[in-house]
Symmetry: D2
Subunit: 330 residues, 4 copies
Amino acid sequence: MLRIAVIGAGRIGKIHSGNVARHPRCRLVAVVDPMESAAKALAQEHDAQWASDAADLLAGKDIDAIVVGSPTSTHIDLIDRAAGNGKAVLCEKPIDLDIAKVNRCLEDLRKHPVPLMLGFNRRFDPSADALKQAIAAGTVGRVRQVIISSRDPGPPPLSYLAASGGLFRDMTIHDFDMGRWLLGEEPVEVYATASCLVDPQVAQHNDFDTAMVIMRTASGSQCHINNCRQASYGYDQRLEVFGSAGMLVNDNLRATTLRRFDAETTEAREPLLNFFLERYADSYRRELDAFVAAVLDGKAVPVTGEDGRRALMLADAAIESAREGRAVKI
Amino acid sequence: MLRIAVIGAGRIGKIHSGNVARHPRCRLVAVVDPMESAAKALAQEHDAQWASDAADLLAGKDIDAIVVGSPTSTHIDLIDRAAGNGKAVLCEKPIDLDIAKVNRCLEDLRKHPVPLMLGFNRRFDPSADALKQAIAAGTVGRVRQVIISSRDPGPPPLSYLAASGGLFRDMTIHDFDMGRWLLGEEPVEVYATASCLVDPQVAQHNDFDTAMVIMRTASGSQCHINNCRQASYGYDQRLEVFGSAGMLVNDNLRATTLRRFDAETTEAREPLLNFFLERYADSYRRELDAFVAAVLDGKAVPVTGEDGRRALMLADAAIESAREGRAVKI
Amino acid sequence: MLRIAVIGAGRIGKIHSGNVARHPRCRLVAVVDPMESAAKALAQEHDAQWASDAADLLAGKDIDAIVVGSPTSTHIDLIDRAAGNGKAVLCEKPIDLDIAKVNRCLEDLRKHPVPLMLGFNRRFDPSADALKQAIAAGTVGRVRQVIISSRDPGPPPLSYLAASGGLFRDMTIHDFDMGRWLLGEEPVEVYATASCLVDPQVAQHNDFDTAMVIMRTASGSQCHINNCRQASYGYDQRLEVFGSAGMLVNDNLRATTLRRFDAETTEAREPLLNFFLERYADSYRRELDAFVAAVLDGKAVPVTGEDGRRALMLADAAIESAREGRAVKI
Amino acid sequence: MLRIAVIGAGRIGKIHSGNVARHPRCRLVAVVDPMESAAKALAQEHDAQWASDAADLLAGKDIDAIVVGSPTSTHIDLIDRAAGNGKAVLCEKPIDLDIAKVNRCLEDLRKHPVPLMLGFNRRFDPSADALKQAIAAGTVGRVRQVIISSRDPGPPPLSYLAASGGLFRDMTIHDFDMGRWLLGEEPVEVYATASCLVDPQVAQHNDFDTAMVIMRTASGSQCHINNCRQASYGYDQRLEVFGSAGMLVNDNLRATTLRRFDAETTEAREPLLNFFLERYADSYRRELDAFVAAVLDGKAVPVTGEDGRRALMLADAAIESAREGRAVKI
């Protein structure tokens, strides 16, 4: 039984708390959030304790692990303390927006090795998992091209952008991780171009809302990513892997299989699932399974701090590329 | 080179005339229709002769074959004359609405054997053909169930119904032929139920516009047909063959591959092709290919008079079944 | 909080026990099965009591409701006792294989009215639910034809057949319920034909493994059902509703969205989900939601004893029809 | 009636000759090819003259137009002569591999203006045409991203590469034209990366076989192209246009609608059409229609010499970009 405190009582903290509480091998000990009313409400829903600060829990003996869903700026401190107290960590991406800090954090972790897993939840989507396994089984032969389409249903509030790290570090970072994972080889060069086509005000925040990326590996494999902060038809999440022996494609997931035929259109289906909490509900559950198996059964952590660091490096390179109009070497 | 006269200058005569005129192994010698202006216009379009009556052409030496697209009531006389003069015949279905007359016609034909091919054009649809070949190749194993969905975009005028022979002999007859062909075994029992759901006035013509049929073969294979004279989303033509080793499905054909995604629907495609002249354009061309190959190269006629007779027997059985509420033995 | 005993510790009892145990508004009080080891193991998994007989539990005050997943022959006695003790019942189909006994049971229930819900779980499938709601919203206009394709991945053991009531009462009964529900009108006539195409030994049990059905309502709407006990490609569950304004189609559900393209095939997807426990996992959960809402919130029971009786009448009519080769009036 | 000589009796010349011969408003006067046996055979098939050189035909009065399907190196001379003699030209892409020569050719053409149409046949594909019309109708709102997937079934012989101009000028050039057309705005910046993943020998010819491109317009719209000379599953041709109001997608075209379900896979379809002559058969016919309408009816030429020049500029920019690892401004 893994005794867990969930840090953060926002929408992602709610997802994690529910999954921990329902997991047969976990116990939700506490919910932590400086906004006490939020921590209390979520904790009570699952018969857990609540706290406004994680320090005592991390120093004590009541928990074995933390699941970190608090703001990015708090991650490194939490990882440090957890490591110092021998607690395992499942941490939402990114570790930090500053690659230098991330490097230091991972360096420090070598002195106090505890399991640290990064929350790139999309790897645990059943379809993405089946895709990865099919690649591993040789279904597409040698991977030549990966194409990742990833568009949000609607943009976040402008107030969110300042602390977000920008489009590439906030949104594309999931796709950078997915690209690395599907390519099976590190990208050595990144090119990106980006625009403000959804909302011109985004430009005032020195950010973008619409982007295209190409990455290239040492052996010449290629990966394209396209992003947009707004898609009228819902949360668009597609993958394509093309290789010497064939192609594998993951289409969007739907709530129902219903198709409609009428005088105007045929084969019409409902809009896509609204956003990541619905779309990746299974992924968050399976991510927790993997974390529990890593900590309790000593299995390898499937998404490491190094994976988090690599994705951030790609995001930083994309930002530089978009500004300078040239491919950036990693 | 096969020298052909097309009998009938209506919409089906136009299709056949165009196909004959463009066929590299055919010459369109004449178009025949008692409505002289129609015959003349169609003939001139293809640099052919025209006539209001087929008698002289059939008695002469200018043609080798006729393609019959005139009203059903004229078919048997044309077949008789063609046979008497040694001309081959490609005849639109049905041979006649009266099974006794059909039997006599086919009996007579034995005395003057000429190639007679029935125009069950759907067998020549590339997808139907691929389906039949896959069955023959054993892809589905032993055929257990065939399902035929066949709905028209809109009903014919009420004035058409009187001479049509009714829903089962006019519309379902194509599906009876398709069912026999895909089952690969003769149905021995037919059950049908039918209603007037599109237009209550159809009932006054002692006819139906919406029907379901089940046929059964001696070995226990089953075939379901569903029909309706009106489908808001277009001309619906689907086939399904289920057997011990798997299933094959033919979906509807489309003019384009375009799919649309917006705030209301996703994956939306255009309405289906409007009607048989568009949907089965390829089938009519490939049907003529088969007729030409039968006559010029001595290949087997792929759809025989007996096929026409069998389909009519099933239609007659369906009418009896719908009236009496019991399965009718063939 | 609804306190529930689950009767039956077999595969369906396991599904219900898990769902009850995880339901936020339920408590799993006990698991009952004459096979004590099975009852004990399942009860312990969920921290519940166990018993080899339901009598004491039904007479006592520890439970509010039972979920019945025991053999069909036990259903009526359990319903009777539950009613006598004021306990609500969620009962797997059918109430009984004998329509006379079912009639008596429902008659008796009028004297001791308790909520009785029949386990036609497919109505709670999210796609079926969306389909029904779209019909109710007028999307297809007036319903003309319903087509239900329902094929199992593999046949049950021959030993199962004797107590099953035969194909129509055991398997098609789900489709009879679905047909009634989607038509929105009672069938007044049933025709069925059936064969033994999967296994000739089934005929020795006076049963069938492959069937087609047509039902017809008073207003002339039609419903076709096709069944087979074995489909190589998995558990095939499709629905089609065609009406004056359009068509709605529910395709099969998949575990992943993955499509494969290679030198032999394109667009290839995985085989269908193996069987009902996987395919209808969501349905069982949502069925329990509806039962809880009926009992605790006084909402209408969405699937009644009368629904169970009607489906059985249609199954009995289909058996008679298949034997006699005529449509049977209800 | 447009009197046409087809220049080139290779595979593309055969396509054009057949289409011209069957076109109701054209007459195929002659086929020209220095390989006399090829010219003769193709001409005889269509009852036309043949010649080993086009000079006399262009100087004479027997033809109104030429369709140029001869090697790229001959194009400019043919265009010059045709212009000097007042003949219209439908010319396969590219005008020339050298942009300076293309500029001079188009400059010269201003002195002798004759209709010059470039053979970017894919614009005339019915699905591409429907896509373009839907964009024009506002279906996707403001275009944000275009994605073009274009992979050949197999690579050309190495001997072909030397004269081809390389991957970007030979293969991607179609996609550059398609991108410009769908964006509705000129790209101002091109980035490309390319590899030899199909055949390492291609590198010895200073060429590539696998590439990804991103183009960007002045207003910030983006276009991604992916290419490969070899795809195991056939000739892959897909388009996606994403905008403020929605998305439009063109999938691959198929020869049949057949889908197969068995124990290993479901929904499996046949491999894609083998190559452009099959896949774009309709496009070549509709391209000729547009050329005829431009010349005979004075309609605008839908694909101009300027379109050819622009696509070549993009290809040249892509080559420079792939070599230098930076985006190249147009």
